[in-house]
């Protein structure tokens, strides 16, 4: 039954994509939104069955046969549904369904309505393969499949040059990570003789030596793959550009689901990572630094979607931070709450962009709350959750990560996390105040056209807002909530996060909360009360401001250090080496043969006296040779 969960949206994709145009539009829409509903229903049913099982043995499997069998290696189309997969599948189907519904309104005017839904369904199918696969290779099918959908959806409006190059960039940057991951997988085959989760994860402690170089390298190769897909340093550069895609795509793929695949991969491979303390340390630091780094960029951006995109990178950093200190359940908890509030933020932003006919610059907005009440309200909920304000969802999950970081003895990382929390409050509410509060900076024409979105867009907003407000409670009390107890058996026993004593945990939580509130207060004073002050601040630290604004010039750095040298060397190879030397020597040999031929041709003059002379000379030489040698 499990295998049906991904197959249904796949079928939907084929139907809508290949014959959708020939059927009534309503029917196509019903199919496109019906398949995620069915998958959600099946996931819920499987989830209920899991709950009925004893806590330690919660596992459903189903296989639809062998995929590749060669020599002593074989891998099957096997699916598994355990607590970790269950959470992922529920999030993917649930948020996915809401975003499908939202897209009915958002994409209504687009001439490629059918292509959009076909790709959205295909994405859902591939994402479900990714989270339900029972082996690494099938996971990789989903992994690359979602990458393909992401590529095609970023480039959905492919006639825009920016969208076209953003799509290519996303695929290629991801491909770098995937290359590393492939090496990891083939190494895994060599070590374990298998890529099945069951075999690899059970045998890991006997095959790999704790702390060995092999364990570290293997897990790092997987992690490099994860940094590509989950947009971490140094491979995050594709995600901000991915905002060229339609906003529902940003919400579904580039916030709620696909970008969390890296988190899922690391969490799934927890038994491997437990054997590689060095790798875990690297995961934690990459996550922490990315969180702070992306938040600093988000502080000064002006495009509503890009700010949220940097926020996504930052929040994904938190999740890796949690995984890196062994708090796997906390990382997945944050993944889940983030899926709600980040999808909400993107969809609200989409509603704004929809209302403003494509305007994305927050400097040109302001005062939108009066016109878009539902949108503004839901955005506010999302912003509070994202900023980690109690009791909204993001507070609980982020708090649990930071508590685990502190308890594991990573003081500096905790400071980084707390600083990021302050930054998050600041950039989130800078965005909220500039866009929704204060005086409107819209022109009169735009003002007259302002309208709240249709019901199909408002409904998902309201539902996601409810989720963002409440879903955090499944993780309360910290460390032993419903979610943690549900996920607990999946992760290695030693990895249950070390919890600090309750009093210090409360102190820490209050401290981080205070940082976040401080960020919000600062945003309020600098962007709402007295906007001039923010400009003065930027003027006072011009170097810092420009560094943030230009995103640390990393895109420029990659362009100069990687892209251009590659193209230049390829051109040199092609135009100098290949054309002149390789091909030149071939043609040179041919020319030499021709030259030799034409030289020899001169011997054949056709004049009998020359021939007779030659014969004579030859005969004399021959006779002489015989006479003297004999």
């Amino acid at each position: 039954m499990i295998w049906l969960i991904p197959i249904i949206p796949l079928a939907g994709s084929l139907i809508v994509g290949l014959i959708g145009r020939r059927m009534p539009r309503t029917l196509a829409t019903v199919i496109a939104c019906g398949t995620p509903s069915l998958s959600l229903l099946l996931s819920v049913m499987a989830f209920v069955r899991l709950l009925q099982m004893p806590a330690e043995g919660r596992l459903l499997r189903s296989s639809i046969g062998s995929w590749i069998a060669s020599g002593d290696f074989s891998v099957s189309f096997g699916f598994l549904f355990d607590p970790l997969s269950a959470i992922m599948a529920l999030v993917v189907c649930g948020v996915g369904l809401l975003i499908h519904i939202y897209s009915i309104g958002y994409m209504a005017e687009d001439r490629d309505y059918h292509r959009f839904f076909a790709l959205l369904n295909l994405f859902l199918a591939e994402m479900l393969v990714l989270v339900l696969a029972d082996n690494y290779l099938l996971l990789f099918v989903g992994w690359e499949g979602v990458g393909l959908c992401s590529y095609l959806l970023i480039g959905f409006w492919f006639e825009r040059p920016a969208a076209a190059s953003a799509g290519t960039k996303a695929f290629l940057v991801n491909r770098i990570g995937d290359g590393a991951m492939v090496v990891g997988l083939i190494w895994m085959i060599l070590l374990f003789g298998s890529v099945d989760f069951q075999t690899v994860l059970t045998d890991a402690p006997t095959v790999l030596v704790y702390g060995s170089v092999t364990a570290s390298l293997l897990t790092l190769l997987l992690f490099i793959g994860a940094t590509g897909k989950s947009a971490q340093l140094p491979l995050y550069v594709w995600l901000p550009d991915a905002m060229e895609g339609p906003t529902p795509v940003s919400a579904l793929i580039h916030a709620a689901t696909m970008v969390t695949a890296g988190i899922y991969l690391v969490a799934r491979s927890a038994p491997l990572f437990q054997l590689a303390p060095v790798s875990l340390e690297i995961v934690a630091w990459v996550g922490g630094l990315t969180a702070l780094y992306a938040a600093s960029i988000a502080l000064v951006q002006t495009d509503i979607k890009r700010i949220i995109a940097y926020s996504t990178i930052s929040q994904l950093g938190y999740m890796f931070l949690g995984l890196g200190v062994g708090a796997y359940a906390a990382g997945i908890f944050h993944l889940m709450t983030h899926a709600f509030f980040k999808a909400l933020l993107f969809l609200s932003a989409g509603s704004v962009i929809h209302a403003l006919a494509g305007e994305q610059d927050i400097r040109k907005m302001g005062g939108l709350r009066q016109f878009l009440r539902v949108t503004a309200g839901s955005f506010l909920v999302g912003a509070l959750a994202n900023a980690g304000i109690a009791p909204f969802a993001g507070f609980w999950s982020k708090d649990e990560i930071l508590a685990a970081v502190y308890a594991s003895g990573h003081g500096p990382l905790w400071v980084i996390g707390a600083l990021t929390a302050a930054g998050t409050g600041l950039y989130m509410f800078r965005l909220y105040f500039l866009a929704f509060e204060g005086k409107s900076r819209l022109d009169a024409h735009m003002l007259s056209h302002l309208h709240e979105a249709p019901w199909s867009m408002r409904l998902p907003l309201v539902l996601l807002a409810l989720g963002s407000a409440t879903v955090g409670f499944v993780g309360v009390p910290p460390g032993s909530g419903l979610l943690q107890r549900f996920l607990g058996p999946v992760f290695p026993a030693s990895a249950h996060e070390a919890t600090a004593e309750p009093t210090s945990e409360v102190v820490l939580a209050v401290a981080v909360l205070a940082m976040a509130v401080g960020g919000i207060v600062m945003a309020y004073r600098y962007y709402l009360l007295d906007p001039q002050r923010s400009e003065a601040l930027a003027a006072r630290y011009p170097a810092l401001y420009r560094t943030f604004f230009h995103k640390y010039w990393v895109d420029e750095l990659y362009e100069t250090a990687v892209v251009r040298p590659t193209v230049t060397s390829a051109r040199t190879l092609s135009e100098l080496f290949d054309a002149r030397i390789v091909d030149g020597s071939v043609n040179g040999i041919a020319a030499l043969a021709a030259r030799a031929g034409s030289l020899l041709r001169r011997l054949q003059t056709g004049q009998v006296p020359t021939y007779i002379l030659s014969i004579l000379v030859g005969a004399v030489v021959l006779l002489g040779y015989l006479a003297f040698s004999g």
């Binding site: 062998s66 995929w67 590749i68 069998a69 060669s70 020599g71 002593d72 290696f73 290779l137 990789f140 099918v141 992994w143 690359e144 499949g145 393909l148 590529y151 095609l152 480039g155 492919f158 006639e159 040059p161 969208a163 076209a164 190059s165 799509g167 290519t168 695929f171 290629l172 491909r175 770098i176 995937d178 290359g179 590393a180 492939v182 090496v183 997988l185 083939i186 190494w187 085959i189 060599l190 590659t566 193209v567 060397s569 390829a570 051109r571 190879l573 092609s574 135009e575 290949d578 390789v582 091909d583 071939v586 041919a590």
Partner: protein, 537 residues
């Protein structure tokens, strides 16, 4: 005789030959009839080959459907055909692609249709012969004979610089083949020297005891011929020229089938005949293969002409195949054979697709296009699937082959596998960059806006390939299962011989090079009793 009771392999060769004869007798003006007849004949051959596939016994490692008849008794050469798990996939690839290539020529070829179709059928017979011949002389006959129709296909129906391209192609290939012929004769002589029996039967020659130093020389001769055909870096420069000038169908068969003859030659002849030399050459060939992977990809990246881009991508893909073959374990070799089929499908389809836009716009320059996805949605969908197959998207065929090659290579040599993995990244770079410039963005020419999307005939060419791309991607086991026994046997024959690094290899050549008996056999034709010419008198 085959299980069907009929000489089915011979029929696969004879039917297109007879078909060509029939075409000769038809009035050249009746073009429609000629086209349909050629298509029908090649399709019939394909259907017959399906019988071979169906009746093939996966459990047998050795040759099946073996046919043997006396041929040139005086030198011990016989008419010997057979297939095993190594040649079966390639045989099917050939019979599958030929009708599609013929269908692709319906609109593109407007002059001398009759002669063209005769060439196509002769080519089909020749290609099939190469993959089923098990006698060295017979193999050589097909190997060289197949060049003739290809020579005309490019030289008569090709582009502007067709004469240059076709001469380069034929001369380059023949330069290698001549050495191979000498080596073949030497192998037979050596065999006769040790057993007293003169034969060119491959199955009998395998397992003979050729001294190591002699093996090196003979392997080198075979390897050169095959490496040119593959083509391996640095013998590849005939390929872009030949592709650019060849008509669409010529490119499809050139890339789809002809290149595989080189890689097949290594598997069928060079490895089992000279296992120790093959092992000694492994490091050198692996290095060249890895260079080919990266070099082909980098050079492909900066091509302006779509056909040149695809041609260089072939150099890269065939590098993977060679790397897998010389990893010499079951996964890598099966991956290589599968990848030969995959490359035939995806690159064949790429040339078809390029041909389609060439027929519409009479240019293949990337800069002339842009935004084609809007105008040609069906074309775009097909192109997308093929592109993804070519860059190895999991779920499609290319991934299975590449992954098996990498997994097998990693066992044999970690460094090569890691470098090859970089090739996977680069493959995405050149294909998607091309895609962005051709299919996405704004159209750069007004002519592009009025193009017609692909029609029914073109769909009929692409759909079978696309279905196979999906089918092999999701279910490669029917093919892999049929390879298992034969590949395992080959690996057993070859593996275990010591590898040599480059200096050692060169010393082997210099010091042990010409063993006395080898030199004797080659350079003293009058000596008794080794001279098979004796019986001619």
């Amino acid at each position: 005789m085959s299980p069907t009771g009929g000489p089915i392999l011979s029929m696969l060769i004879i039917i297109p030959l007879c078909g060509a004869l029939v075409l000769v007798c038809i009035d050249g003006a009746r073009e429609a009839l000629i086209k349909r007849l050629a298509l029908a004949i090649s399709s019939l051959v394909f259907l017959l080959s399906l019988i071979v596939y169906a009746q093939f016994d996966p459990a047998t490692a050795g040759m099946q459907f073996v046919e043997r008849a006396p041929w040139i008794d005086s030198i011990g050469s016989s008419y010997l055909l057979g297939v095993d798990g190594i040649s079966l996939p390639l045989l099917l690839l050939t019979t599958f692609l030929t009708p599609i290539a013929i269908l692709a020529s319906f609109s593109g070829i407007t002059s001398r249709v009759k002669a063209y179709m005769i060439c196509m059928l002769l080519l089909q017979a020749g290609m099939i012969g190469v993959f089923v011949a098990l006698d060295l002389i017979l193999f050589y006959l097909f190997w060289e004979g197949m060049l003739i129709p290809m020579y005309f296909l490019i030289g008569v129906w090709g582009g502007r610089r067709r004469v240059y391209a076709t001469l380069k192609f034929v001369l380059f290939t023949m330069a290698g083949s001549v050495l191979m012929l000498l080596a073949m004769i030497a192998v037979a002589f050596l065999h006769q020297g040790s057993t007293g029996r003169s034969t060119f039967d491959l199955l009998e020659l395998i397992g003979g005891s050729i001294p190591y130093g002699t093996q090196l020389w003979l392997f080198a001769a075979f390897a050169l011929a095959f490496a040119i055909k593959v083509p391996m870096f640095p013998f590849h420069t005939w390929l872009p020229d030949a592709h650019v000038e060849a008509p669409t169908a010529g490119s499809v068969l050139l890339a789809g089938v002809l290149l595989k003859m080189g890689t097949y030659g290594f598997l069928r002849f060079a490895l089992p005949l000279f296992p120790e030399a093959a092992a000694a050459f492994t490091p050198l060939i692996s290095v060249l293969a890895v260079i080919g992977i990266l070099y082909g990809a980098l050079v492909a990246m900066v091509q302006d002409d779509l056909k040149r881009l695809v041609a260089y991508s072939s150099v890269s893909h065939l590098g993977f195949v060679m790397l897998g073959i010389f990893a010499m374990n079951v996964q890598a070799v099966e991956g290589s054979i599968l990848q030969m089929v995959n490359h035939g499908l995806s690159t064949g389809a790429l040339f078809l697709l390029v041909g389609m836009i060439y027929e519409r716009r009479h240019t293949r320059m990337i800069e002339e296009f842009g935004g084609l996805s809007r105008v040609l949605p069906r074309f775009a969908l097909c192109f997308l699937v093929v592109t993804m197959s070519s860059i190895g998207l999991p779920g499609l065929n290319g991934f299975v082959g590449e992954f098996l090659i990498l997994a097998g290579t990693f066992r044999a040599h970690k460094g090569f596998a890691i470098l090859a993995a970089i090739g996977i990244i680069l493959a995405a770079v050149y294909m998607l960059w091309m895609w962005q410039r051709v299919m996405w963005g704004q159209s750069r020419r007004a002519e592009n806006l009025t193009l017609n999307d692909i029609g029914r005939r073109e769909m009929a060419m692409l759909m079978p390939i696309i279905l196979l791309i999906l089918w092999i991607g999701l279910n490669p086991n029917p093919l892999l299962r049929r390879m298992d026994a034969s590949v395992a046997q080959l690996v057993e024959q070859v593996a275990g011989s010591p590898k040599a690094d480059l200096p050692l290899l060169l010393r082997g050549f210099a010091l042990q090079g010409l063993q006395p008996e080898f030199a004797h056999a080659i350079f003293t034709p009058n000596s008794q009793p080794r001279n098979p010419c004796e019986s001619w008198n």
